[in-house]
């Protein structure tokens, strides 16, 4: 190789460059085509019921009665939309303080062995398959709730608890990254002014990293909103707007996973499930948009 004339080496370099560029453009194009066709597919199936007049959009979004197999079927998805939001918000409320504390512990309080111990444990949590979370929820959380609280253990509370464990790693790792990237001189000047560690954390570190930590929370909520299997196993799946945390309820994802395989393509019931998939997709867009906005604020 070394003995070759310079022009040949140059040629080879150019060819490699060209091949690399063609390969890259092909991959990017393919990705764009896949994304567009996915969005198109979900959207076209999702609006099929509304276009054909089978279901009114207002009935779908605001109707509280879901009974697709009845003599006069009705496709109200409000119980599932509200269930999804309820478990997601609850999970974020439970998980965020824990995650932020864990992140502070790893970066500010015991950056040495604390990080070495906690980080692998938290990363491990994100590697556990969701069916395992569901089964643990069914075997541990549900009996615990059944024995200590009213209701049958299955319900919104169990779903939120399972989800909160599942989103811990997302929030913790984003928050820890944000805390670690904080300029050292900010903290040092706070200490120089005579502030204690707690004052520094609560008055300087947390306010400056707040948008970044919120990014983690929103990412965690996006994960919770889209999670299907584990929630489906512990939430009970009754198609009603829950009046209590210990009552059986449904989420959009649990209804989709329960119904998709048992309905035939093109039937109104199947299309209604696709409409729910469309709602999920739009919600994901909103979550992504939120993260983008938070990131922009973070930069300033």
């Amino acid at each position: 190789m070394r003995g070759q004339p310079t022009n040949k080496r140059l040629e080879k370099h150019h060819i490699e460059n060209l091949i690399g560029r063609i390969y890259m453009s092909f991959c990017v194009l393919l990705l764009i085509v896949i994304i567009i066709s996915m969005v198109y597919f979900v959207a076209s199936k999702g609006i099929a019921n509304f276009v054909s007049g089978e279901v009114k959009i207002s009935e779908f979004l605001l109707g509280t009665r879901w009974s697709p197999e009845a003599e006069t079927p009705s496709y109200g998805a409000l119980p599932f939309i509200s269930g999804s939001f309820l478990v997601t918000l609850l999970a974020a409320l439970i998980a965020s303080p824990l995650s932020i504390c864990a992140a502070l512990f790893m970066t500010e309080i015991v950056p040495g062995w604390g990080k070495k111990l906690l980080q692998p444990v938290i990363e491990l949590l994100s590697g556990i398959p969701s069916v395992v979370y569901g089964f643990v929820g069914l075997s541990v959380i549900v009996p615990f709730l059944r024995d200590t609280l009213p209701g049958q253990g299955i319900g919104v509370a169990a779903g939120a608890l399972v989800l909160s464990v599942m989103i811990l790693p997302t929030i913790t790792s984003v928050a820890a990254d944000a805390l670690a990237s904080l300029p050292q001189n900010l903290k040092e000047s706070s200490f120089a002014l005579g502030a204690t560690r707690w004052q520094t954390i609560s008055r300087v570190i947390l306010p400056t990293t707040f948008p970044a930590i919120m990014t983690g929370v929103v990412l965690g909520m996006a994960r919770a909103f889209g999670e299907a299997l584990a929630v489906q196993m512990v939430i009970g799946n009754a198609p009603f707007v829950p009046h209590s945390l210990f009552e059986s309820a449904s989420t959009l994802t649990s209804v989709i996973t329960l119904g998709m395989g048992n309905t035939t393509m093109g039937s109104p019931q199947n299309n209604a499930l696709w409409s729910m998939a469309l709602v999920l997709m739009l919600m994901t867009f909103i979550f992504v948009l939120l993260v983008r906005m938070l990131e922009r604020r973070n930069k300033i």
């Binding site: 879901w66 009974s67 697709p68 197999e69 009845a70 003599e71 069914l138 009996p143 059944r146 049958q152 253990g153 299955i154 489906q232 196993m233 009970g236 799946n237 009754a238 198609p239 009603f240 009552e247 059986s248 996973t257 329960l258 119904g259 998709m260 395989g261 048992n262 309905t263 035939t264 393509m265 093109g266 039937s267 019931q269 199947n270």
Partner: protein, 316 residues
């Protein structure tokens, strides 16, 4: 550096090819030795006489039927090494959709195609092969204190009229319904033949998708009631008699116990050679009294009654 990488990659690829070749050889040997051992039985069946059968079969649909089809397919492939059968789940709706759109060769379903497919013309194109029967029993938590329920009592419980076990002669304990999703085939069977009516989902009822989870929940939840296929029954749940009739295989076969349904394998039109051979093999005594019984289904060939789409039962 780059040269060495390419070389390594080539080596890895060769390794993979060599390994898969070994796998193929193993399969071949197994089939050959089995042929030798089973000769008397094998020559009887039409399926295994065609050692020259080849092609691939794709089946999808009912998860309730999947384990049986998988096991029978395994055996069929052992005696016919040229045939490759893939069995996927996905649910009865998926199976029926895919077979009617010719995406798969066989669509497995817990219900008649006419009940699921809205398009009657599409359903008429499909040919039904009833390979097994699944019976479903009402079950309760053992502490509920009830042995038998009448049809009317079950209807009252599943429509929410009766909410305490003491009203049907059991313990003073609230009834907790553990249902299947509205679109489930098991629920459709239970509603048509045990209740005789469709039910709405009740507030506070619990719906679970898999039989395993349903059994676990009924066994653990005080006052729980639900329904399970006979193959899932054990001591952790109490099997309830229906109108005084015990849900046993003998009672189902004799037509005394009414809560059962066929497991269907649909083909789009008349099946071709290989698919037909596979479906014929399913109906042989070897499979019907062997694998079907072993996995907890009831042989379709043994049924003394038959039932049509409308639910009319006639003695065979």
């Amino acid at each position: 550096m780059q040269f060495r990488k390419t070389w390594l990659m080539a080596l890895a690829l060769t390794g993979v090819v060599a390994l898969s070749a070994c796998g193929g050889n193993n399969g071949g040997n197994k089939a050959a030795s089995n042929n030798g051992g089973n000769t008397p039985a094998a020559t009887n069946t039409e399926a295994s006489s065609g050692a020259n059968l080849s092609g691939s079969i794709l089946a999808s649909g009912s998860t309730a039927l999947q384990p049986l089809v998988e096991q029978v397919a395994e055996k069929f492939m052992e005696t016919n090494s040229g045939v490759d059968i893939q069995v996927q789940g996905g649910g009865s709706g998926t199976g029926l959709t895919q077979v009617s759109e010719k995406q798969v060769d066989i669509g497995n379903s817990d219900v008649f195609a006419e009940e699921k497919l809205k398009d009657a013309a599409k359903a008429a194109e499909l040919k039904d092969h009833q390979v097994a029967v699944v019976a479903i029993a009402a079950v309760s938590n053992p502490a509920a204190g009830v042995d038998s329920l009448t049809k009317q009592q079950l209807v009252d419980i599943f429509t929410g009229k009766i909410t305490n076990w003491k009203d049907v002669g059991g313990a003073d304990q609230a009834i907790q319904i553990i249902n299947r999703p509205a679109s489930s085939g098991t629920r459709a069977t239970f509603e048509s033949f045990a209740l005789g009516t469709k039910t709405e989902d009740l507030k506070g009822s619990i719906q679970e998708d898999s039989s395993g989870t349903v059994k676990k929940m009924i066994g653990e939840t005080p006052g729980a009631i639900g329904y399970l296929a006979l193959s899932y029954l054990d001591d952790t749940v109490k099997t309830l008699n229906y109108d005084g009739v015990e849900p046993s295989v003998d009672n189902v076969v004799a037509g005394k116990y009414p809560v059962w349904a066929y497991e269907h394998m649909y083909t789009n039109g008349e099946p071709n050679g290989t698919v037909k051979a596979f479906l014929d093999y399913f109906m042989t005594d070897e499979v019907q009294t062997g694998d079907v019984v072993e996995l907890g289904y009831i042989p379709a060939s043994k049924m003394q009654v038959s039932r049509d789409v409308a639910g009319t039962v006639t003695p065979k």
